[in-house]
């Protein structure tokens, strides 16, 4: 798309040349503006990496300290729902990437479709997440608010999980540390879900704007930057999924 390329950067500086309406006054060229906002978005994602970094550090330390508790805690998660959710999120990332492409190619209705799909998939993800959260609530696995240790002191009482993993009962001291596992589970997935909710909010705004044709006249930076955010949220999940659901399946 010539409008978005570096060509604009080559135009002369002197005098008041015509600006596109979406160019802010303090930028000399559209290219400069796009570059600046794109770079700003990346810097914002850096802060997000560090924000989650604290939680990942906590996870690493406590998993090593209380390994058996983390193993049995993770046995309580459903690999089925986890996998399905991963697939949903990856698909939403794909539709978002396609959305950026549509905006660049100025395909308005296709862009709206992609954004709506991303929106719906985001909601599906949160729906599945809430099913999982609800199950934790039912089984008294919500740290701080509603927690008991039955599933870990007496694993056989928890039929479904027991049939699959045949976990041995944990000593009381270790069993109590499963609460830390579930806290980290809720903190990490909750923080991730919060990012999804914010993303879905912005998506709603974008769908309305896209319908008015705001992104299909050559100004795609907003869609692009939102795409970066959405993919970043996807990446966080790509790591959360194996760490929380998968890696402890066999460790006993």
């Amino acid at each position: 798309m010539p409008e978005n390329t570096a060509i604009a950067g080559a135009t002369e500086v002197e005098g008041h040349h015509e600006h596109p309406p979406y160019q802010r006054h303090h930028f000399e060229t559209m290219g400069q503006q796009n570059d600046a906002t794109n770079f700003a978005m990346w810097l914002f994602l850096l802060t997000e990496i560090m924000f989650f970094g604290g939680l990942f550090t906590a996870y690493l330390i406590y998993r090593n300290w209380y390994y058996p508790a983390f193993v049995q805690g993770s046995h309580q998660l459903s690999i089925f729902w986890g996998t399905l959710n991963t697939a949903v999120l990856i698909t939403s990332s794909f539709t978002m990437a396609m959305g950026v492409w549509c905006a660049e190619m100025r395909k308005k209705s296709a862009l709206v479709l992609c954004l709506v799909l991303t929106f719906v998939l985001g909601l599906v993800f949160l729906g599945i997440k809430s099913i999982e959260y609800h199950e934790k609530w039912e089984k008294h696995h919500v740290p701080g608010l509603r927690y008991n240790l039955d599933s870990f002191l007496n694993p056989a009482s928890d039929h479904e999980v027991y049939q699959e993993y045949h976990d041995k009962p944990l000593p009381l001291d270790m069993a109590r540390h499963t609460e830390l596992y579930f806290f980290l589970y809720f903190a990490m997935t909750g923080m991730h879900a919060l990012h999804m909710i914010i993303g879905i909010g912005i998506l709603t705004f974008m769908i309305i704007q896209a319908q008015r044709g705001a992104y299909t006249t050559g100004h795609v930076t907003f869609v692009e930057n939102f795409g970066l955010y959405w993919h970043f949220v996807d990446i966080i999940w790509i790591f959360l999924f194996p760490l929380l659901y998968l890696i402890s399946r066999h460790a006993n």
Binding site: F39, F56, F94, A97, H250
Partner: protein, 102 residues
């Protein structure tokens, strides 16, 4: 005007997106399958290895880093670097506190 040329705006073709999307799905399947195979401590290595590959695919293609300026690449790298500093310098304390028990 900025005194350095703006980045060339590269548009990734939808075909490539589809390829990346499908490989991400395959890798998800693979990592789930791998978790059902007993590999002892290698389960973690494989799971995280696959996660890293998936993340790289997303970063490089969905997020266009492969086609972006050196500055963007440097930004991504510096984020990972500081993340690693946080994790490993903290772990340095924890590991050496209980030497041999990690």
């Amino acid at each position: 005007m900025s005194n350095h040329a703006e980045t060339e705006h590269h548009i990734v073709s939808p075909k490539l997106y589809v390829v990346i999307f499908l490989s991400l799905l395959c890798l998800t399947g693979l990592t789930v399958a791998a978790s059902y195979v007993e590999m002892y401590s290698f389960n973690v290595v494989v799971a995280l290895g696959i996660a890293i590959v998936k993340a790289m695919l997303v970063v490089l293609f969905f997020m266009h880093v492969k086609y972006s300026s050196k500055l963007t690449k440097l930004t991504v790298f510096s984020g990972l670097f500081t993340f690693m500093v946080l994790i490993f310098m903290t772990l340095a304390d924890y590991i050496s506190r209980a030497w041999g028990r990690w």
